[in-house]
Amino acid sequence: MDDTAAPDRTGQENEDARKPDRVLLALVGVVVLLVVVALAVVFTCGEPAPLDEASPAGVVQRYSRAVVDGDTATAQSYLTEGAKSRCRGTYTGEPSPARVVLVSTTERTDSATVKVSIVRSGQGGPFGPSEYETEDAFSLLKVDGKWMIDQPPYPLMACTVVPGKQ
């Protein structure tokens, strides 16, 4: 704007003119505080806390971490034989999963269902990266006293393709 302040103003007008300035300062302060706190928190937080490997959520955590890191061999070690035979390669769709958050765990005697929210982030969007969130579920079975994944959600599918069995 090409506005210039009028040279002569009364005290009342001066008082009025300061008002938006105070609001502006407060808003700039809030934004700067947010950025500083976010930088501090994000850059100091470590790896996700590991869950108990004997629980369904712990198995899902280790499997998901292996998938996100692209470690197919480790991921496969958490799958049941049935899951391995049904598996048809690795999910390669874009954007790839970047974050898996536990929603709920339902544990029964020999089976369990672990609901997760899968966040996939892409480069798109004119102002900053964009994220897509979907909710999906793992089906787990107890094999020899250990929880194994029988059906991983499609975006978290990862295995080497095995020859089809007749």
Binding site: M1, V42, A57, R99, L102, P129
Partner: protein, 581 residues
């Protein structure tokens, strides 16, 4: 701008005539398209005869023949009928004819340009056999384009009030095509420079891609240059040209440039602090971002300096739009920063990507905030009612309204997720993870809404303090110009009144020789600038929301406040004032 030139001849009875024109022009449009499709099909077949060994496509040939032999003559017949009727002024002024001309001009220009550029690029690389189809389509549509251009510029049947439409359609299309292709060309070139030619080396030399995009960019630039300079698009001082400059040259180019800058900063920050992806993937968005920032900034800068030389209104609008784009970037950056802060508070099962998210938000904020500060000048806000420019209140209300809508939607999403958490068996962490994006947007929208609401209230207080003087805002001016067009341009006069008062101006030209009882005093031919100043001064003193201004011939100037029948006038009806009869 809101100058409208009034019709100079009365149209025949509205309803049936409009319906007849609608049917006629829709039919003509369809027939021209059908005939063009038929002729280009036949031409393509002709071009292919040299290379075709066996032709068995009877269906395609039959269709092309039917389209050409039935559609063609019918199109010509209907066109002849329409063309003959265009001797009538009312027909030429009808919206149907203008819409038909604009539509067909735009369609033919787009198809002709894309086909010819397709033809030119088909010679780059090993695609020799691809030329017959674009050549056939291109030549037919170039002919149609030329034909409609000839009709548009025909001296006897010209639609003078539509001259700027043609220039705007062509220059906007050319600008979009040229800018997009130039970004693609520069991006392909930079990508090779930054990442090396890993992907394209296997199929064809890397520069084929660059060359193809360059050809498209040159074609787009030619179309833009033709319409903007040769056809005089930049000289039209009409609202449509202003809208095109603001909408494409400032708004779209601003988004492109700021988005590109944001991504450049994002990639650099990731290179420094977040190397979670392979280097090749990290660098992938860098080349398109640099290209978008460079070309977007070039286009934005050109239109910014063009808008400075236009009316005050255009200049103000271009500043407000720049400020709006930058504020949107900064606000979404704040939203993403809050989002990342909340994401860091949740311990996920696997993955993280929090750092990437935060760096994205920071880069968007770092690019948007300085541009907003420069365009909006938050330290130099109006301190008195006279400093408040007309568009500012609309801008404030628009931003307040948009951020209120965003806040409402995000609140609904947050409420839905919270109730889901309260009613079902969902872990607390997952709730926070799923509301972090809307919560970030809510914070950003809240900050934006709060700031603009305070400014809006401040402005309102200033206006109220300025008293009733400001309430007598003139909304509409009916200008009757009696000056000979050579002495004072009525459009320039109307524009001056718009700039001075902010009112809507309807221009009428006197059809008589200056009014009964008045001597044709052409001895004093005033300068447009003086007349505008006198009219503005007279309007300043005038009471009433609608005002009739009779200016000219000679030095005559009459300002008459108007009222609708039955409306109460405070202080009695103000008499019309003949300032200089």
């Amino acid at each position: 701008m809101s100058t409208a030139t009034a019709p100079t001849a009365s149209a025949p009875a509205g309803g049936p005539a409009t319906l007849r024109r609608l049917i006629l022009y829709v039919l003509l449009f369809a027939l021209v398209v059908i005939a063009a499709s038929g002729v280009s099909g036949l031409l393509e077949r002709l071009f292919r005869t040299a290379t075709t060994l066996v032709s068995g496509d009877v269906t395609g040939l039959a269709l092309s023949l039917a389209f050409t032999l039935i559609g063609g003559p019918l199109a010509l017949l209907l066109w002849w009928f329409v063309w003959r009727r265009l001797d009538d002024e009312a027909e030429r002024r009808a919206p149907g004819w203008g819409l038909y001309l604009t539509g067909m001009y735009a369609v033919s220009l787009i198809i002709a340009t894309t086909s010819l550029l397709d033809l030119a690029t088909s010679f780059v690389g090993a695609q020799e056999s691809q030329w017959p189809s674009p050549l056939a389509t291109g030549s037919v549509w170039v002919a149609i384009w030329w034909w409609h251009r000839w009709m548009w510029k025909h001296p006897g049947k010209a639609s003078r009030h539509l001259e700027d439409v043609r220039a705007v359609v062509g220059s906007v299309f050319g600008l979009l095509l040229g800018t997009g292709a130039a970004i693609a060309a520069l991006s392909a070139l930079l990508d090779v420079a930054i990442r090396g030619f890993t992907a394209t080396a296997a199929f064809e030399p890397w520069w084929f891609d660059v060359l193809r995009s360059l050809i498209w960019a040159a074609g787009g630039a030619l179309v833009w240059w033709w319409h903007w300079f040769r056809e005089g698009g930049r000289r039209f001082q009409t609202g449509l040209v202003d809208v095109a400059i603001i909408g494409v040259g400032i708004f779209l180019a601003g988004i492109t440039a700021l988005g590109g800058l944001g991504v450049i900063l994002f990639v650099l920050l990731r290179l420094a602090f977040d190397r979670s992806d392979p280097l090749n993937d990290l660098l992938e968005p860098l080349a398109p971002a640099i290209a978008a920032a460079a070309i977007g900034a070039l286009v934005w800068r050109y239109h910014r300096s063009t808008s400075v030389h236009r009316s005050t209104r255009t200049r103000r609008a271009s500043l407000l739009v720049t400020s709006a784009v930058a504020l949107a970037a900064a606000a979404s950056g704040v939203g993403v920063v809050v989002n990342a802060l909340l994401a860091a508070a949740v311990s996920p099962l696997a993955g993280g990507a929090t750092r990437t998210l935060l760096l994205g938000g920071v880069s968007s904020l770092a690019v948007g905030a300085p541009v907003w500060w420069l365009a909006w000048k938050p330290r130099h806000q109006p301190r008195s009612a006279d400093d408040i420019p007309p568009g500012r209140r609309v801008y404030l209300v628009a931003f307040f309204g948009v951020s209120a809508v965003v806040a409402l939607i995000t609140l609904l999403v947050i409420g839905y997720r919270l109730f889901e958490f309260l009613l079902g068996e969902v872990t607390g962490g997952s709730v926070l993870d799923r509301i972090r994006a809307p919560l970030g947007l809510l914070v950003a929208a809240g900050l934006v809404a709060g700031y603009h609401f305070v400014l809006w209230r401040h402005d309102r207080a200033l206006l109220a303090a300025a008293g009733p003087v400001r309430q007598r805002v003139i909304e509409r001016v009916i200008l009757v110009s009696g000056f000979p067009p050579a002495a004072v341009d009525s459009e320039a006069l109307a524009r001056g009144i718009v700039d001075a008062t902010g009112a809507k101006v309807t221009t009428w030209l006197r059809a008589d020789d200056g009014g009964a009882g008045l001597p044709p005093s052409s001895d004093l031919s005033p300068v447009a600038g003086d007349v505008i100043r006198q009219v503005a001064a007279a309007l300043e003193a005038s009471a009433g929301q609608q005002v009739l201004v009779i200016a000219g011939p000679g030095t005559r100037l009459e300002v008459v406040p108007l009222m609708t029948p039955g409306a109460a006038v405070p202080g009695g009806p103000a008499p019309g004032r003949v300032l200089r009869p």
